[in-house]
Structures are given as structure tokens and as C-alpha cells.
Symmetry: D3
Subunit: 70 residues, 6 copies
């Protein structure tokens, strides 16, 4: 599957913490920066997301806010 | 200012391309991966976004989709 | 690629209208309802989106608002 | 009320599952495809969302990612 | 129509500026603060959005980032 | 930090209710209207969000839906 989203960052899952409906998944990207995603618990199960698994972060360009020092 | 968004990725602007209302800004992150953001042209002017400027990408955890190989 | 997004609706492109940075793509879903997506022009080119092409709409569950009659 | 969102898909609630703050609501659209929305528990109560109720899915065009086969 | 979105802020349109696909609409809320929304040009036409018109801003709770002073 | 998001509404926290992963935070804006945000519990702790604290709501222009009376 190819996606229209402009951003697809490769990384590795470092942790998963469950909520009632959602779960918080932390990904380490190439270069060491970390990304925190909130996805549904069903998605965690279906995709087999657990520590050490390869996964990518897909982000629409319009969902990014840019910040510069004050 | 401190933000509730879980993700604030430091990088450097590598290009800005203008539209009528919006503009497409590409950021290079530590580790070399690139992020494309769409922000308003007003924001580009106000924040002085141009090639070489330090900027961070602020992303809500709930705006990230995770992908694994099929 | 498998995605954490809960919604992946299969359809066919019925029209594409270009803007400066973005483009408006209309998809007809099984059952006849239509979906309008705004993606970047680069995405339209890369994915070869044009009338008649099969495409799916990927939507995060947290990006849907529900409405009921007043 | 008329909305600026380009997408308003009519359907019927088929299930509601509660979390602590959020709830997962599944809608069946005309033509049979299913949509999963995450809304707050307060919204579920206020809108009387339960199996069999008519409801529409309101989605901003900029919140849709398009996918094509690899 | 009643919506699951937790935020529906009443205001009045103070300006509309057109792009190719999108338009930037500024709303003045009760209490004087201003909100800038980007919607499609089709939406501006269909809803008759122009200076002086009453309109509300509908915002999902999950689309808000909170900020506190550093 | 200066942000590309077009909307930064100043207010005061009036309530915080915790979920497993997320928390619902209600802000009162100047002029009295109220905004409900869903952020992670980690964010609530890090930013010290509790009743009476000054906080601003940061909202991307593309995340706002406009509504007019039917």
C-alpha cells in the first residue's frame, strides 16, 4: 500500500502502555529521536506492536505544527 | 511555553514552497529523516521560516498512524 | 503495509481538482456514498490519482465527529 | 446546523464500547462498509448513541489519507 | 444536528481570504478572542460565509494542544 | 517558543478528569466560553494542569469545522 501522507518515519517500538480504549506506543526513530503515538488497543493487537518490533509513523503534513525559539 | 503535545522533534528547515493560503515546509531531523509540514503562509512569514533556520515539529500523539510491513 | 488506523474504506477516484499546494480528490465508496479528501499535489502525482483509479480512504477513529438529528 | 466539513456519511450505530474518558462507536454506512469513531463518553450519553440509532460520520477532507495498492 | 465534538464556540465572521482549494476564515468569539479556520472554498460558498455572518467553530477535544508558560 | 498554529486562546483550567491514558481538561476562555481538550495524563502531570492554572489552547486552523444555522 502506498499512502498520500507525506511523512512515513521508520523506527522501532520501545514501549506500549495500555488504556481502556487506547494505548500509548513509543517509537525510536533512526537518529535516536522518540515519537509517542496513541492508537487503539485493537490496533496494537492486530499489528503485533510490542517492544523491538519494526514500525513506521505515518503523519499527514497538515497535522504538524512548527515551532521556533521565542 | 511548554506544550501538552507529546512530540516535539528538533530539526532544520531545508525548503519552503508557497501556495495561495498554505505553504509546504520540509524539515531535516537529527538522524537525517525528513518531515514535511503544511502551515499557513502567514505562519511562514511570522516565524521567519526559511532554509537553514532551526525549527521543531510539534505533533499530537493522537495524530500519528502506525504502520508495520504487510 | 498494515495500518493502526481503524478505517480503510475502499473506493474509486471520480475527480481530482488541483490547488497550488493541495488538491481535492473525490472518491466513490462501495454503496455509492462519496468522500472528499484534501492531499498534497505531490501525493496526487506519486500515487497516480486520477478518475477511475482504485483507492482507499484511511481515517483515524479519533478524526471522526458523530452527528445525530437535532 | 450546516457544516463546512466536506464529508457527512449517513449510517446506523452497530456497537458502542466504553473506555475511561473515550468510547469506540462503530457505524454501518449505506452500502455496508463500517466506520469506527472514537468520541468522548459524555458525547455518547448526550447524543444517545446506542445500537440501532441513526447517526452520521462528519469528517474534514484534510483528515483523510488516500492509499493505493503498492 | 447535534455533534459529538465537545467544542462549539459561537462567533461572527470578520474576514474570508481565498486560496486555490482552501480559504482562511477569521471568526470573532464572544469575549473578543479571534479564531482562524481553514476550510474549502466550496464550504465558504455553500455556507454563505462572509463578514458579519453568525457562525460557530466546531473543534474535537482531541485536536487541542494545551500550553503553559515555560 | 513561537508556533505556526494560527490559534492560541488564553484561558484558565476549570477542571481535569483522568482516564487510563488520556485526561479531559476544561478551560474557561476570556469572555466566558469553555473549551474541552483531551490530552495525555503524562501531559497533565508535566504541565501541572489543575483547576485555577493559566493555560492556552493551541489549535491548527485546519482542525476547525465551521457551522451555520440550517
Amino acid at each position: 500500500m502506498r499512502l498520500s501522507a507525506r511523512n512515513c518515519l521508520k523506527g522501532k517500538v520501545v514501549s506500549v502502555s495500555d488504556g481502556a480504549v487506547n494505548a500509548e506506543v513509543v517509537l525510536e526513530l533512526a537518529g535516536g529521536s522518540r515519537l509517542c503515538a496513541i492508537v487503539t488497543r485493537d490496533a496494537v493487537e492486530e499489528l503485533g506492536l510490542e517492544s523491538g518490533v519494526d514500525a513506521s509513523a505515518v503523519i499527514k503534513a497538515s497535522n504538524i505544527i512548527l515551532a521556533v525559539p521565542a
